[in-house]
């Protein structure tokens, strides 16, 4: 059974005061996410990521289309107890302490009274807030609020977790913790759907990613495929005071760029040894050699480009994935 099945979900808002015109926030979206999958929803700010999440949460109503969560209609109240949601830049009742807030949400989610407070304490420990659990949330920093947000999203042990920009506003340490938490959820067999505009997070965590831009799903792909070695390249930086690139290197298919007395050359990973031999032969001083693993970024940039071909390709790919799932 698919965890999330989005069937041509569409949303447009009426804008303007006198003559209201519809503005498309989300073009018909078709997407299927399997159970146990970690799915990254990528796109620049304002692409429609939050709109999609709000539609799925029933906070806004679709103009057309529908979705099924864990096999149930999305407005079915029963399915809600199986869902956790972290909104973007969450803000909570600041008159409550973290402990009270989690208790409140646990009650609303129907966590049985017996074992409720144990569960709350466990969650507080899990996000590292045990020490400040009694403090009112109005004194919390942004990062601490994000942790509270994560705790409330997984409080009731949901099968399906939606996270809207879970890493935003966090320091490097906090980001690392969130990554670990998502990894843990994956290992527990949960389905995680999270939106982000930070590619490295997606690359590190996701099984698959979808790229959305201007309300339109531009493409869906498996991260493992997109970052596989075949497409990998290496970047070689070397010292060249004469500002010349050895011919042998260009013969290996390198794209070189001269900047100052240094040269930047990118060539296929397969040619790495041959290229190093060339440098050795020419007695050129090597500065660095790094594998280029930014193929997700390339994929992302390519999908964002407004070229109609890319759009078409993205659609086809989305359809293929949707149908295949």
């Amino acid at each position: 059974m698919a965890a999330i099945e989005i069937l041509d979900l569409e949303k447009s808002y009426l804008v303007g005061f006198w003559r209201k015109r519809p503005r498309l926030a989300l073009r018909p979206l078709r997407l299927t996410i399997e159970e146990g999958e970690v799915f990254g929803f990528l796109g620049p700010n304002g692409a429609g990521k939050t709109t999609t999440l709000k539609l799925l949460m029933g906070l806004v109503f679709p103009t057309a289309g529908t979705a099924r969560l864990l096999g149930c209609a999305m407005d079915d109240p029963r399915v809600k107890s199986q869902i956790g949601f972290l909104p973007e830049q969450p803000y909570f009742y600041d008159h409550l302490s973290a402990r009270e807030l989690l208790n409140y949400y646990a009650q609303l989610s129907g966590v049985p009274a017996k074992g409720r407070s144990a569960r709350v304490e466990q969650m507080l420990a899990r996000v590292g807030l045990s020490d400040s659990a009694g403090m009112q949330l109005r004194k919390f920093s942004k990062g601490m609020l994000q942790r509270v947000g994560l705790a409330q999203a997984i409080l009731h042990d949901p099968k399906l977790v939606f996270l809207d920009e879970p890493m935003s506003g966090l320091d490097p340490m906090g980001r690392r913790e969130v990554r670990d938490l998502i990894q843990q959820l994956r290992s527990e067999g949960k389905t995680v759907f999270f939106s982000t505009h930070i590619l490295s997070d997606a690359e590190a965590l996701c099984d698959r990613v979808g790229v959305i831009h201007q309300g339109e799903l531009r493409g869906v792909g498996a991260v493992a495929e997109l970052t596989s070695g075949k497409q990998g390249k290496v970047e070689i930086v070397f010292y060249a005071p004469e500002q010349k690139v050895p011919l042998a290197l260009t013969g290996l298919g390198a794209e070189a760029r001269i900047s100052g007395d240094m040269v930047n050359a990118v060539l296929p990973e397969a040619q790495q040894e041959a290229a190093l031999d060339v440098l050795r032969r020419e007695r050129i001083k090597l500065i660095s050699l790094t594998p280029v693993r930014s193929s997700l970024e390339e994929y992302y940039i390519q999908k964002l480009r407004p070229s109609p071909d890319a759009t078409e390709a993205g659609r086809e790919e989305a359809d293929r994935k949707g149908a295949g799932a």
Partner: protein, 315 residues
């Protein structure tokens, strides 16, 4: 049916049912506590307190109290209870809040003094109200007129009535009848013409439907009183000439004193009684008459039947 739809339907049902229920209970409450707004006048007699409470919006509050007074009078009249206890306090509060609200004084002059059920039976309160009004509006002839009218119709104090009309006649802006009324008070007090002029002036100087209706009824009564008086004089004359009382109206007609059978303003024939008195056939239909009644009968008063009042309202 989806959950959302079900909730919507239930909410609509609750909305409609509770709306109907709320209206129904309000209707019951409303009938239980009629005049409740007016009741307040019982408690808030001090204008100072009211002025404070109104936070400076005395004009608006005066208008509200004036509406309450009119409505209270109308409702009590309608119900026929003849209980106008609150009329005086309501008018006092109204005029204390806004001493320049002239219709309130006129209303008071017409309905505070007469005996129940046509008024509150408080000539003293009516006089006090007029004097208060003149104090605050010394240049309004209508107030002097109302005062004179009170002295004339209710208190029968013709000297004071003449004085009031005279003062009113001396104002820069006045009514042409004022000097005439002043003069008549001295010489012809108690005559039909004088009374008629008073009621006509009352009728002409107001737009208030209830006051006009009252004036019309008094004018009709005056006509009956006058006709009965004349007929009784004719009967006197007949006895002087023939040495006996007439047995019927046709005796008088044959003797050439009258032409045809005289009828009252409602179209009924006047009756000639055995002792020579004249009586109206239906005294209950002409209010306020003092003549043409059986011996010892009280002047008939407007009935509890609300027709006249309702019609007057709609104008």
């Amino acid at each position: 049916m989806s959950a959302t739809r079900r909730v919507n339907l239930v909410a609509i049902a609750v909305l409609l049912c509770s709306m109907a229920g709320a209206m129904a209970s309000l209707f019951v409450i409303d009938h239980q506590r009629s005049n409740s707004a007016a009741q307040e006048a019982l408690y808030l007699r001090s204008s100072k307190v009211l002025r404070r409470l109104s936070l400076g919006y005395t004009g608006l509050l005066a208008d509200i109290y004036w509406t309450r007074a009119v409505q209270y009078f109308g409702e009590q009249h309608h119900s026929g209870s003849g209980d106008f206890r609150l009329l005086a306090p309501l008018l006092e509060v109204t005029t204390e809040l806004d001493p320049k609200l002239l219709p309130a004084y006129q209303f008071g002059a017409n309905f505070l003094a007469p005996k129940p059920p046509s008024g509150a039976g408080l000539p003293g309160a009516a006089l006090a109200l007029m004097q208060y009004g003149i104090e605050h509006n010394p240049d309004q002839w209508r107030l002097y007129y109302n005062l004179g009218f009170l002295y004339y119709t209710e208190l029968k104090d013709y000297a004071k009535a003449a004085d009031a009309f005279k003062r009113g006649a001396a104002l820069p802006v006045t009514n042409e009848f004022m000097p005439i009324l002043a003069a008549r008070m001295a010489q012809h007090a108690g005559e039909f013409d004088t009374a008629r002029m008073l009621w006509v002036t009352t009728y002409q100087s107001t737009k208030e439907a209830r006051i006009r209706q009252n004036a019309v009824e008094h004018l009709l009564a005056l006509q009956v009183d006058e006709e009965v008086t004349q007929l009784e004089r004719v009967v006197e004359k007949y006895r002087d000439q023939s040495g006996r009382l007439p047995t019927s109206m046709s005796d008088l007609e044959r003797a050439g004193f009258i032409r045809g059978t005289p009828t009252d303003p409602k179209g009924y024939r006047y009756h000639l009684m055995a002792d020579g008195r004249i009586e109206v056939q239906h005294p209950e239909q002409i209010y306020f008459i003092t003549k043409g009644l059986p011996p010892g009968a009280e002047p008939p008063q407007p009935p509890r039947e609300p027709q006249a009042a309702a019609k007057a309202d709609s104008k």
